[in-house]
């Protein structure tokens, strides 16, 4: 009996939601609009700044030296002589001002130190890039001089380079791309899980209350808990659909997008175990948000009021995601795995780093289930409270 009622209500809710343009928009807004848009902007500004910084490097040079010739060989470098160099640098028309001391060449010739001052603007990404280019050129030029001096003294280059060191990165390519994704994906995933069910949850209780349908529904000989269970399932489905669409959208955007990550991006860091943990994490997070959203929808006296409360859920989803964005999973504090939502975000990160700690998974998923149970009981109490379904 109970199962039949739940199924009947669930089927009706899904039919109703799929015919509701507003609910569908809410479910697919993050995955289909926000994610591509954010990545597009990110990619645009990133690649533009990078490209422009490389393509054209206007600098001013005061004084003369063989160094200037070296600088001129760098692609993109163009030496300008504006009337007010300082101002031009401040305003971005110049990326750097190089001042070579008057006695530079003579000092170098006699084995002394020539002085070069490079002025740049650390607040300007392009100027910082110019500084790096100049630094490398200066170093290369300096090295040439050293080699010459050593030769004159009858020594080889090795004399001043007793150690040859190479640094090897142990992170595999998969984990590297995982690392990058582990920053952004949990944020997008959790936000879409939270936002995906909002329109549905608000419609299914606050909306039904406002339209008076809930009151009629509650006069049928069925248990309030069965109605609530069906509604919870419907909201969870919307929430999971949004998360799934986000994952698809993210992988498409990362593959096609202007971030040029084709080489780095791959889903091969998924193993059956991490995939299972990801699916379970998505499910418990969806249940947490769905139950919470139904609580708020039941408390709300109107659809409008419900919408206001729901923005709090998005906030709740974003805080842990932002807090953990820069963290490597090994740096995540242990107690995060028992905090609601934090635990889900932390597990997502582990999945995308390709290394899931079994204990973390157990504690994170277990504590999530406890939270889901608590919120569900709460929402059931509220829902069955006298007059909760009646508009007044």
């Amino acid at each position: 009996m109970g199962r039949r009622v739940i199924w009947t209500v669930f089927r009706k809710e899904m039919l109703d939601l799929f015919r509701d343009r507003k609910a569908l928009l809410g479910t697919f807004l993050v995955p289909l609009v926000i994610i591509p848009f954010v990545f597009f902007l990110l990619g645009m500004s990133y690649s533009n700044v990078e490209k422009e910084a490389r393509a054209y490097i206007p600098i001013a040079v005061n004084g003369s030296s063989g160094l200037v010739a070296s600088l001129q060989t760098i692609p993109g470098v163009s030496i300008l002589q504006p009337s007010n160099q300082e101002q031009a640098l401040q305003e971005g028309q110049l990326r750097a001002i190089i001042t070579i001391s008057p006695a530079f060449e003579e000092r170098v010739k006699v084995g002394g130190t020539g002085e070069v001052v490079v002025a740049f603007d650390s607040t300007n990404q392009k100027s910082v890039y110019a500084r790096t280019v100049i630094e490398k050129t200066v170093e290369a030029y300096s090295k040439e001089i050293v080699v010459q001096r050593l030769k004159q003294a009858g020594m080889s280059e090795q004399a001043i380079k007793p150690i040859a060191s190479t640094y090897q990165n142990v992170a595999t390519e998969e984990r590297l791309s995982g690392g990058m994704l582990a920053g952004i994906i949990p944020l997008m995933l959790v936000v879409s899980l939270a936002s995906g069910g909002i329109a549905a949850a608000n419609d299914l209780v606050a909306g039904e209350k406002e339209r008076g349908t809930l009151e009629s529904l509650m006069t049928a000989p069925i248990a309030a808990n069965h109605i609530l269970t069906a509604k919870l399932m419907a909201v969870m489905v919307m929430s999971c659909m949004s998360a799934l669409a986000s994952l698809v959208s993210l992988s498409l955007v990362l593959r096609l997008g202007p971030l040029e990550m084709e080489s780095g991006f791959s889903l091969s860091f998924f193993s059956p175990v991490t995939l299972l943990v990801l699916v379970l994490t998505i499910l418990v997070l969806a249940a947490t948000f769905a139950a919470l959203e139904l609580v708020l929808s039941t408390i709300a006296k109107s659809f409008k009021e419900g919408q206001t409360y729901m923005s709090g859920v998005i906030f709740l989803a974003m805080v842990p995601s932002y807090m953990m964005m820069p963290l490597n999973p090994v740096d995540i504090p242990g107690y995060y795995y028992v905090l609601p939502v934090f635990n889900g975000v932390a597990l997502c990160k582990e999945v995308f780093y390709g290394r899931v700690e079994p204990l973390h998974a157990l504690v994170g998923l277990g504590s999530s289930l406890v939270y889901v149970a608590i919120i569900t009981v709460m929402s059931s109490r509220l829902f069955r409270k006298e007059g909760a379904v009646v508009k007044n």
Partner: protein, 242 residues
């Protein structure tokens, strides 16, 4: 049969219903008359087990709303007045079928029921269209069909003609007549004495949550010594103001 036994209902400090008793016999069309805010909806909500009486009890076909709410729900159909609650994105048929299956009707019986209701209420032309674009009268028909889909013995109609035009109100009254012929027990609430007079022989008159009178309309006339029912209603309302 509906028996209201010394029922009071308080919302916090607000007393919405105070010691109200009346009895509706099986097969009777009974009127519940009162101004806006008199407590009609609250009384019906208690009968439908959505609200609990603070004191007293109500029996529907012998079942207590407090002790056997599910048995009560099986036997009643309630129609809330004003903006009838329907799912706008579902068709008329889907709306009715949804409630039918919640009452446990199996598919074949449900479709039969929908067909016969749709015929009786003359809604065949729009039964498969979505409710959202319906007129007030069309929506009312769908809501009535939903109320009756499980063939309840006791029918509660809370201000069902509010907002209906004259034609729709007439169709509605004819339907009440038909239901009475089928032997249904009907409680009909209104703030309009004239309308009650057209349908009912016996009424309960409540004002500000208190029962002013319960019984036959003839007894009511005798009691007040006034023949015009509207004047009696006015006298009750003004009498309590004074």
């Amino acid at each position: 049969m509906i028996e209201v036994k010394q029922v009071s209902k308080r919302f916090g400090t607000i007393s919405a219903i105070e010691d109200v008793s009346f009895r509706v016999e099986a097969g009777e069309v009974y009127g519940l008359l009162g101004e806006n805010g008199a407590g009609k909806t609250t009384t019906m909500r208690m009968m439908a087990t959505i609200l609990q009486p603070t004191e007293g009890d109500i029996e529907i076909s012998g079942f207590s709303v407090q002790k056997e709410p599910v048995e009560v729900r099986r036997r009643i159909g309630i129609l809330f007045g004003g903006d009838v609650g329907l799912y706008n994105r579902l068709s008329a048929r889907e709306n009715i079928a949804y409630f039918g299956s919640l009452y446990g009707l199996e598919q074949r019986r449900l479709q039969e029921r929908i067909d016969s209701l749709s015929q009786m209420l003359e809604m065949e032309s729009f039964i498969d269209r979505r409710v959202g674009a319906f007129s007030r009268g069309m929506k009312q028909k769908v809501a009535i069909a939903r109320t009756l889909v499980h063939d309840p013995d006791v029918i509660l109609l809370d201000e069902p003609t509010t907002g209906l035009d004259v034609t729709a109100a007439n169709i509605f009254r004819r339907m009440v007549g038909k239901l009475q012929e089928e032997g249904k027990t009907i409680l009909f609430s209104s703030h309009n004495m004239g309308e009650i007079n057209k349908l009912c022989k016996r009424i309960a008159l409540i004002h500000k949550g208190r029962l002013q009178f319960a019984g036959g309309l003839d007894t009511l006339r005798e009691r007040f010594g006034i023949s015009d029912l509207d004047d009696i209603f006015m006298a009750v309302v003004e009498g309590s103001e004074a």
